[in-house]
């Protein structure tokens, strides 16, 4: 059998140095990367064949004929969650070795050659999706029976794209989203004839079929005069935002955003107030589709933090390195028992936090995690459900956000003002770079990963920089500064003085005056993005002077 789609990745496979990080890497205290054995399938099944290094070896050997395709291998193709944690961990290339795309390409080759997995699941789900417009095979005309009592307008600015799982299996999520939007009198509608976006089919390798679905859906959406499509489902969101543009031409005038991003905006406008009556401990599970794939990390955290009496306790693996819940990549339908074992491991991770709620932003995660609860005494909820439960009906108007201290912190404001007057500091960074500044009242706070006292991030655009308050979703690098260092830096009269101080604080840190970095990308990638030059300009390389002058420089402090 030929593998045209997989063969396209053959040369990328040679960049895999077989280091094994994608399976075995563990958090490095110094690098503060919250990794812990990234491949959750390998963690459950144990053998090398299930992690990226082993998968690449198997795929290579299939391509060069050392290994022959058999039924076991066809099954194996559907044991990958396509969660991307291996790729995120991999430092071989700027964006890591793209194992998920290799597995998808391999599945595509299998599908197009009529190679069935024995459970026949992929084809069964294709059949259901094409016939009933949802992968569950439920009647299409019942999609919104639980919500249709409401007369949705034919046209509105906002479209709530509910998705099949929220419509048929997790209706409370759809109802919660509906209730929240209604509460703020948002002008929104739904597509009465909403059909499956094809997320599951894509993951199985039915790319051509999904192209047709995408075209149909986009035509429908465009006809309704929608300006923004809002998704409570991370899977649908990723499909529209990341996969569709690879398949069809997308309209430029329609925005696609996740429900949490939309709500973040409304909360900041003071449209809602959420509260628990007593202190409540919550951990947030980053869905792979929303976090790693689409880069949305902050909005859900912002929303949880905005609930009065809520305490967000981060999970051991989180953000980019979050363990998958176990439901993705078609594994849940092909090998439900494996999905449950993965889910149970995630639940055990969450249980360490002694929480009341484990919250996610994807109906699929919610389904698998709640089925994996195994008697733990916390609840699994979707964020929409949590927010709708905590919606404080009695209060409206402007509210004070816990996180808003980032914005009002005076020193932070001074630093923002200083940097905005010196945009040339960022001139060496390539457009698209995101540099996060965090200010701490002590080195211990930084090292123990306590929240900073101030935070903002600088986005380098083509001809300008933008400074945004708060933490970034996905920065290239986090700069951590002591309050003392910032106080000194903003007093600098010239750029030279700024650089000298910056360099001294970084190279010769003292208790009150220090600067540190956390790299969120590989060093090599950062250098390519201009951070090397930035560092040089910022003064962290010693000047071309003799050693004695270093001592003078330290005295500036």
């Amino acid at each position: 059998m030929d593998y045209p789609y997989l063969s396209a990745f053959r040369s990328q496979m040679d960049f895999c140095g077989k280091c094994g990080d994608c399976a075995l890497a563990v958090e490095l205290t110094t690098a503060k990367k919250h990794i812990n054995k990234p491949c959750v399938i390998k963690n459950v099944l144990g053998f090398e064949a299930y992690d990226a290094r082993g998968r690449i070896l198997i795929l290579k050997r299939l391509l060069d004929g050392t290994l022959q395709l058999n039924q076991e291998i066809i099954d194996w193709a559907y044991t990958c969650l396509l969660c991307g944690n291996c790729q995120e961990t991999c430092l071989a290339l700027d964006n890591g070795i793209d194992l998920p795309s290799m597995m998808e390409a391999f599945r595509r080759d299998l599908i197009e050659n009529g190679k069935y997995s024995p459970s026949g699941k992929p084809f069964e789900i294709l059949e259901k999706t094409l016939t009933h417009h949802n992968p569950y095979g439920e009647p299409h005309d019942q999609r919104f029976h639980f919500i249709l009592s409401e007369n949705f307008p034919p046209h509105a600015d906002i479209l709530l794209f509910v998705g099949c799982t929220a419509a048929y299996r997790q209706q409370n999520i759809a109802l919660s989203a509906y209730k929240i939007l209604k509460k703020a009198n948002i002008d929104f509608t739904i597509l009465k004839d909403e059909k499956c976006c094809g997320s599951v089919l894509l993951r199985y390798g039915f790319h051509d079929k999904v192209k047709v679905l995408a075209e149909e859906l986009m035509e429908q959406i465009q006809k309704s005069g929608i300006k923004t499509v809002v998704f409570p489902c991370a899977g649908c969101y990723r499909t529209f935002k990341i996969d569709y543009p690879k398949l069809i031409e997308m309209p430029k005038d329609i925005k696609f955003i996740h429900f949490s991003e939309y709500l973040e905006k409304l909360v900041k406008e003071g449209k809602y107030h959420f509260r628990f009556d007593s202190q409540t401990r919550i951990s947030y599970h980053d869905p792979c589709h929303l976090g790693r794939a689409a880069g949305v990390f902050e909005a859900p955290r912002f929303l949880i933090n905005s609930i009065n009496n809520a305490n967000l306790i981060e999970l051991e693996t989180r953000r980019n390195y979050s363990h998958c819940c176990g439901a993705g990549g078609g594994v849940k339908s092909c090998f439900p028992e494996i999905s449950l074992k993965v889910g149970q491991n995630r639940i055990i991770e969450a249980a360490q936090n002694n929480i009341n709620y484990l919250v996610s932003t994807c109906p699929f995660c919610k389904t698998n995690l709640s089925q994996s609860l195994n008697g733990q005494n916390f609840k699994v909820l979707d964020l929409t459900e949590l927010l709708s439960q905590t919606l404080d009906e009695s209060l409206t108007g402007t509210i004070i956000q816990k996180e808003s201290s980032f914005v009002t912190h005076e020193l932070t404001q001074n630093y923002i003002t200083y940097l905005s007057q010196h945009p040339e500091i960022f001139s060496d960074l390539v457009p698209g770079s995101v540099l996060e500044f965090t200010i701490y009242d002590s080195i211990d706070a930084f090292e123990d990963e306590k929240p900073p006292t101030g935070a903002f991030h600088v986005v380098r655009l083509e001809n300008e920089i933008e400074i945004h308050p708060g933490l970034a979703d996905n920065s290239d690098l986090q700069l951590a500064l002591s309050e003392g260092a910032v106080r000194e830096l903003v007093l600098s009269k010239t750029k030279k003085e700024y650089s000298l101080k910056f360099g001294a604080f970084y190279n010769d840190p003292e208790e009150e005056y220090w600067i540190d970095f956390l790299l969120h990308k590989r060093t090599k990638t950062l250098l390519k993005m201009g951070y090397g030059k930035f560092a040089e300009e910022a003064g962290i390389l010693d000047e071309d002077e003799d050693l004695d002058s270093l001592d003078d420089r330290v005295k500036i402090i």
């Binding site: 280091c19 075995l24 070896l57 090397g532």
Partner: protein, 480 residues
């Protein structure tokens, strides 16, 4: 895989036997699984084992060894298979590969004696991370591949890496081992020799009472037994750290500084980037700013107290100046130390890697680098899309690693690269170099040069401890 020619019945019998010991989920003979174990991180063509087993404890391993012996099967113990010498690739047929990565627990931390006892399959990254929670650390922190490299793998292959300038290599940090031998019996080395001993006292020293049995198993490449536990020395996490990078225009000057630092035990780590090309590859910021530099040394000092670290740094600065070194910043040393096991991987984008890692006295480094450059000139490396990195790490006293690695971008140039690779190894081993791990990478080069009396001695040890050559047959070309 000779088992293919076995009758289905015989194969089933073996499967059932293994299954009885480890349970159905912890072994496999599925072809695709075996193929995923065929290679390590080296470029050598692989060879799948016939079974893969995930043992959970020493007892299972003991039973598996006895089972293998009675069925004429061989045992290949492996850790993270992150080795880059081909050492974990099966050489013969009918093998059971023991993937030890599930034996990854910390058995005990002894704060009285300052040791940690671990299962052999724990990775260095996991060990360091867990010890850090107790404000403790190991001296040798692991090879640069310590995300996947296990303690057992490193001790079996003499790994050198992070922390080696002050603490020596992996094997220098061992107090005791638990090893399962070819007849399935289990021994503990060092002060663990007593039949019965209070738990707390069993592993406090390596050298006592008899000769050093621990050393026989260190660096054995899995040929003498399966290491199931190791006791390592531990230290409190340093309160004070200092970083500094020095640039040089001559490797001779840089080596003199390195030698001085090691003689006087001034640093925890001193790592060199040994030519302009390497500086450009790993520290382009420095290259852009100081294109004239041919060598950079990154220095890390960890001390109990910050003042001591600062003082040591001052001494380093003074000395560097005497040897014409220039303080250029802290970028390399910080990136090196803070990125720990995440540094080498970013070089993979240069193409697949062909290493020639070995050890040599510091004073022989300049000559090696000059000769290497001669070799590279002869073969027009860059036009042939072959890149390289030259680096070195001061080790223990006054020797260092020679880390010269080639990168193949264009697969059609493999024959040329292999020629250069071969000549480089010849050059290194003929000029004062000795490999630390051997494997397929070095075996032929080593066996040509080994003193017959030395080889005979280790061969006798092999035959005495493993008379039927159950463990990793073919390695070191031992003959029964």
């Amino acid at each position: 895989m000779i088992l293919e020619s076995m009758t289905q019945l015989a194969l089933e019998k073996i499967s059932t036997g293994i299954e009885k010991i480890v349970g159905p989920e912890n072994y496999s003979k599925a072809k695709y699984i075996l193929h995923s174990y065929a290679e390590d991180a080296s470029p050598f063509p692989g060879n799948p084992p016939d079974f893969v087993v995930l043992p959970q404890n020493t007892n299972e391993i003991s039973q598996l060894i006895q089972f293998a012996a009675s069925h004429n099967l061989s045992i290949i113990p492996v850790g993270g298979r992150s080795g880059i010498s081909g050492a974990s690739i099966p050489r013969t047929h009918s093998s059971i590969m023991l993937d030890l990565t599930r034996m990854n627990k910390i058995i005990s931390i002894d704060k009285e004696i300052m040791t940690v006892t671990v299962q052999a399959g724990i990775t260095w990254a996991e060990l360091i991370h867990k010890l850090a929670k107790e404000d403790l650390t190991v001296g040798f922190r692991g090879p640069y591949g310590g995300n996947a490299g296990t303690v057992g793998g490193s001790l079996s292959s003499n790994s050198i890496g992070i922390g080696a300038s002050a603490y020596g290599g992996a094997c220098d940090n061992v107090v005791s081992l638990e090893v399962v031998l070819a007849d399935g019996s289990i021994i503990e080395t060092g002060s663990g020799w007593k039949k019965e001993l209070p738990e707390t006292l069993s592993h406090f020293t390596r050298y006592c009472t008899f000769n050093d049995l621990t050393g026989i198993f260190l660096g054995d490449h899995g040929t003498l037994g399966v290491k199931t536990q190791a006791t390592l020395k531990i230290y409190p996490i340093a309160e004070g750290t200092a970083f500094i990078d020095f640039g040089f225009t001559s490797i001779e000057d840089c080596s003199k500084l390195l030698h001085y630092l090691q003689v006087h035990k001034l640093v925890t780590e001193a790592v060199i980037l040994g030519d302009t090309n390497s500086i450009e590859l790993l520290a382009s910021t420095y290259h852009d700013k100081y294109p004239q530099l041919t060598t950079i040394v990154g220095i890390i000092i960890e001390e109990y107290d910050q003042d001591i670290a600062n003082r040591k740094k001052e001494i380093c600065e003074k000395k560097a100046k005497q040897f014409n070194g220039k303080s250029i910043g802290t970028f390399l040393s910080k990136a090196h130390w803070l990125n720990k096991f995440n540094l080498v991987q970013s070089l993979f984008e240069e193409g697949f890697w062909y290493n020639t890692c070995h050890l040599r006295p510091i004073n022989t480094l300049p000559n090696l680098i000059h000769q290497t450059h001669e070799l590279f000139k002869k073969y027009d490396m860059k036009p042939n899309e072959i890149n390289w990195i030259i680096s070195a790490l001061a080790t223990d006293r006054c020797y260092c690693t020679g880390w010269i690695t080639l990168f193949l971008k264009d697969p059609t140039k493999r024959p040329l690269l292999e020629k250069i690779w071969h000549e480089l190894r010849e050059l290194e081993i003929s000029n004062n170099g000795v490999p630390y791990w051997t494997g397929l990478l070095w075996e032929d080069y080593v066996l040509q040069r080994v003193n017959p009396a030395f080889y005979e001695t280790i061969q006798k040890i092999k035959n005495a401890l493993d008379p039927y050559h159950i463990f990793h047959p073919g390695v070191f070309k031992f003959e029964r």
